[in-house]
């Protein structure tokens, strides 16, 4: 026992020594000399950006935009890190670590808002500014959300794209919607705006809305049934990421490539084959690079005080003025992938 006690004394004194010697914080502020004069002033800040899952092409593409913005601003040090497993508990560890480091802003795309909530709260209590991007958490736990697209924009964009694919303003024909499930909140919101947008195109007729229950096979057979029931069908909106390839496959197998067009929201990699086949003329998504870019600009503006409650716009570098609605910074605008440009995107 005596030996044990001697041993513990040794450890404790060593540890005390290490702590005492080094815990005085006299770290010099990193020079912000790299920022060219005339650009946004303000001291150098650190922004930590957390994706839902690190390493997936979608988020990697967002991070490229974020790095671009950080470089452009010159006075933002960007940390982009997240769990490669998508494990929310690991994400919590990272947020706590950043809190301990005392970064200026933490931008979170929460993969599980309930799990990340307490950590985000701890960060805010420590005086760190917390925003969300790509996906939202409980609004209490963050100051702003960088919102990629409103339901209205998505609905309008879907209808406009379909009309364009069918021949522009003089487009005509029957169209149908294959949705996720009839109770899916997001999709129902989009459908609401799609219906009002369709009024702009009097010769396009919406004939059916069918659920696919997030099942690719069901989306496939539902689309087959639609093709049989409506021989004059010219277009299918497949508005869930699972329904989209299912519907495209049905059109392809029915030999209607070129006469029936499918469109929806997805990433280029998931739909590349169908776009190159010509079954799908356009895939719609928001601009992921711009989303990352805007997030970093929003973080900077938040620290500088130019982004605060009641503000209605935000200057964001090459994106120009972006709308701020309530506590949402709107990216706005969708990106359409077609045969011509899909080769440039890898995610």
């Amino acid at each position: 026992m005596a030996e044990v006690m001697r041993f513990w004394t040794l450890i404790v004194s060593c540890a005390a020594l290490a702590f005492a010697g080094c815990s005085s914080e006299n770290k010099a502020e990193a020079p912000s000399g790299s920022a060219p004069a005339g650009k946004e002033s303000g001291k150098k800040i650190t922004v930590a950006m957390l994706p839902k899952k690190k390493g997936v092409p979608y988020f990697t593409s967002c991070s490229e935009g974020a790095m671009e913005a950080a470089k452009e601003l010159g006075n933002v040090e960007l940390i982009y890190d997240g769990p490669t497993s998508g494990d929310a508990a690991e994400a919590v560890k990272l947020i706590d670590q950043w809190t301990a480091q005392g970064v200026d802003v933490i931008a979170v795309s929460p993969n599980d808002p309930a799990v990340l909530g307490p950590a985000m709260k701890r960060a805010r209590e420590a005086g760190i500014k917390v925003i969300t991007w790509d996906a939202d958490s409980d609004p209490q736990n963050r100051e702003f959300l960088v919102n990629q697209a409103t339901p209205e924009e998505i609905g309008n964009s879907l209808v406009d794209t379909m009309a364009f694919d069918l021949g522009g303003s003089s487009a005509s024909g029957q169209v149908a919607i294959v949705t996720a499930s009839l109770t899916a909140a997001n999709q129902n919101e989009w459908i609401k705006y799609m219906k009002s947008r369709l009024a702009k195109y009097p010769r396009i007729e919406l004939v059916a809305i069918k659920p696919s229950n997030e099942d690719q096979k069901l989306a496939f057979s539902v689309t087959q049934d639609l093709l049989k029931a409506y021989p004059g069908l010219r277009g299918v909106f497949a508005i869930s990421s699972v329904a989209f390839p299912g519907a495209a496959e049905a059109v392809k197998q029915a030999g209607k490539t070129g006469s029936v067009f499918v469109t929806g929201l997805s990433t280029p990699n998931d739909m590349r084959g169908y776009v190159n086949d010509g079954v799908v003329k356009s895939v719609i998504l928001w601009n992921t690079k711009d989303l990352g870019y805007l997030t970093v600009y929003a973080a900077r503006a938040l620290v500088d005080g130019t982004l605060k409650g009641g503000e209605t716009s935000l200057k964001a570098g090459r994106l120009g003025e972006k709308k701020v609605v309530g506590d949402n910074v709107m990216l706005g605008g969708t990106l359409t992938f077609t045969k011509e440009n899909i080769g440039e995107y890898d995610f």
């Binding site: 030996e3 044990v4 702590f19 080094c22 770290k27 706590d96």
Partner: protein, 310 residues
């Protein structure tokens, strides 16, 4: 020297902290350390019974899955509207029962614990996913989060580690455990209740996993079936790094504590300094290799000393 292992670990730990203090002054502050430490307690709490089982010549691979089952049972009972205190009991009891299943195999079969805990590891993870339908359960009261996320885990670990230390150094049971890990046949012939000892070691381990689950749920405000994934590896690494022989028979709690501290600090520091989360995993592997190398050096020196004296 009897404590060569511990001295080596302590020196490594100090070296790490000094390096950290030079490279990242903020890392070596009480505030940062206190915040980072919140993620270490559940592993520490599971590592203590793991240590006892390993010294007794066994191993428990199912700890992570027992944590998951306990967490999910906590979430399910909370969903039923039971008071939080009852939910805590349910989680502890679930852990205990799961541990006793392992204990039953340990006492009644001659199969090595590596095998049956591998089986329960898979089966219990499946049960956790099955009864929860992979749903997360959240929305626990703030007071529960505050109590369980504050000083409670620290005290629980301190109490566990201290009792384990006393048990190993002062009590008869500690001698039995070491004897069992050294030579099972001889231990049986000494009329030591080997089967009962094994049963309760695994049962105790299960209960500790239940406790770790409650802490984990409180801190994350969520109970999910994928909790505690990979925990067994980290716990075993800490035990072996701390100087317990993986074949059983020897080990000290002081060493375990240092092993845990070294794993925790090096992992946090690497991820802090290089800002790449993946490095976390590499650190555990490197430390395990380091532990083996230290063993080699120390045992060679011991042999040399023997040869010299003999």
């Amino acid at each position: 020297m009897k404590y060569a292992r511990e001295v080596a670990l302590a020196l490594l730990l100090v070296a790490l902290l000094v390096a950290a203090a030079i490279l990242e002054p903020k890392f070596v502050t009480w505030r940062a350390q206190a915040l980072l430490a919140t993620h270490a307690w559940e592993l520490a709490i599971v590592a203590v019974p793991m240590f006892l089982i390993i010294v007794a010549g066994g191993i428990d691979l199912s700890v992570g899955s027992v944590v998951a089952v306990s967490a999910v049972s906590f979430g399910l009972s909370f969903e039923r509207g039971l008071p939080v205190a009852v939910c805590v009991c349910v989680a502890l009891l679930t852990g205990l029962v799961a541990g006793c299943i392992n204990g039953f195999f340990a006492a009644r079969t001659r199969v090595h614990s590596l095998l049956f805990t591998l089986a329960t590891m898979t089966a219990l993870r499946g049960i956790a996913e099955g009864i929860s339908l992979a749903r997360p359960f959240s929305g626990y009261p703030e007071s529960f989060q505050r109590v369980m996320g504050g000083w409670f885990p620290v005290c629980a670990f301190a109490a566990l580690a201290f009792s384990a230390h006393i048990l190993m150094t002062k009590w008869r049971v500690g001698r039995w455990i070491r004897a069992l890990g050294t030579n099972e046949t001889a231990t049986r012939f000494s009329l030591i209740p080997v089967d009962r000892l094994r049963f309760w070691l695994f049962g105790f381990c299960g209960a500790c996993c239940g406790l770790a689950a409650v802490i984990l749920v409180a801190r994350n405000n969520t109970a999910k079936a994928d909790m505690g994934l990979g925990m067994e590896l980290e716990a075993i690494t800490a035990v072996v790094l701390g100087g317990a022989r993986i074949e059983g028979g020897s080990g000290r709690i002081v060493g375990l504590f240092l092993g845990l501290a070294l794993i925790h600090e090096s992992r946090e520091f690497v991820s802090w300094h290089w800002k790449q989360h993946e490095l976390n995993l590499i650190v555990v592997g490197v430390l395990l290799i380091g532990a083996v190398l230290i063993d080699q050096v120390l045992s060679r020196r011991k042999q040399a000393a023997f040869a010299h004296n003999g």
